[in-house]
Amino acid sequence: DQQVKQNSPSLSVQEGRISILNCDYTNSMFDYFLWYKKYPAEGPTFLISISSIKDKNEDGRFTVFLNKSAKHLSLHIVPSQPGDSAVYFCAAISAGGTSYGKLTFGQGTILTVHP
């Protein structure tokens, strides 16, 4: 199931700089997108989401951008902090039809923020 793809397995960033994590999707029925952060041996922690009727959503240091025509979304973290080091998952939901909230996840990107 490759409907949601995160093509960068890892990203290394200096503290204070911007982190940009990317995600592509193929299913045009997806209409709600989420980013989760995950530490080892813990559950995914919700970060930020965006509905398909928007192209940007911002929450503090986190901003998610959605380009529907390109089927691409990105998460920007500014400024990056060492505590942001974790695995970041992109996930998508198709709200319509018979899909009752099934989240489809990407493979994840390991973000390392160096002091």
Binding site: D1, D31, Y32, L34, Y36, A41, E42, G43, P44, T45, F46, S49, S51, S52, I53, F89, A91, I93, A95, G96, T98, S99, Y100, G101, K102, L103, T104, F105, G106, Q107, G108
Partner: protein, 118 residues
């Protein structure tokens, strides 16, 4: 802040044995889910549950799996006869709503149960 809880944190079992994984979703949430993550792989959807019945299930969720909400707070996943390939982290999640394409669809996850089948 309300959170999803799961027990046990780690379960070790012999192949062929039954296991029950337990979850307490966030109290005002109506939709409940189970996901799993095999080591090194993606988080995969197993099943969604609403109004005391399964709403959707994946091809992974075969006859060996079942879910139940035995009371007003717990949500359980039962694997009847475990196989080696069932070894994974199992995550429970809950959401207020589903199908609205808005913030009420956001799913909140528990810390997971690590299932090891020997």
């Amino acid at each position: 802040e309300p959170e999803v809880t799961q027990t046990p944190s780690h379960q070790v079992t012999q192949m062929g044995q039954e296991v029950i994984l337990r979850c307490v979703p966030i109290s005002n949430h109506l939709y409940f889910y189970w996901y799993r993550q095999i080591l090194g792989q993606k988080v995969e959807f197993l099943v969604s549950f609403y109004n005391n019945e399964i709403s959707e299930k994946s091809e992974i969720f075969d006859d060996q799996f079942s879910v139940e909400r035995p009371d007003g707070s717990n949500f359980t996943l039962k694997i009847r006869s475990t196989k080696l390939e069932d070894s994974a982290m199992y995550f429970c999640a809950s959401s207020e709503m589903a199908g609205t394409a808005s913030s009420t669809d956001t799913q909140y996850f528990g810390p997971g149960t690590r299932l090891t089948v020997l």
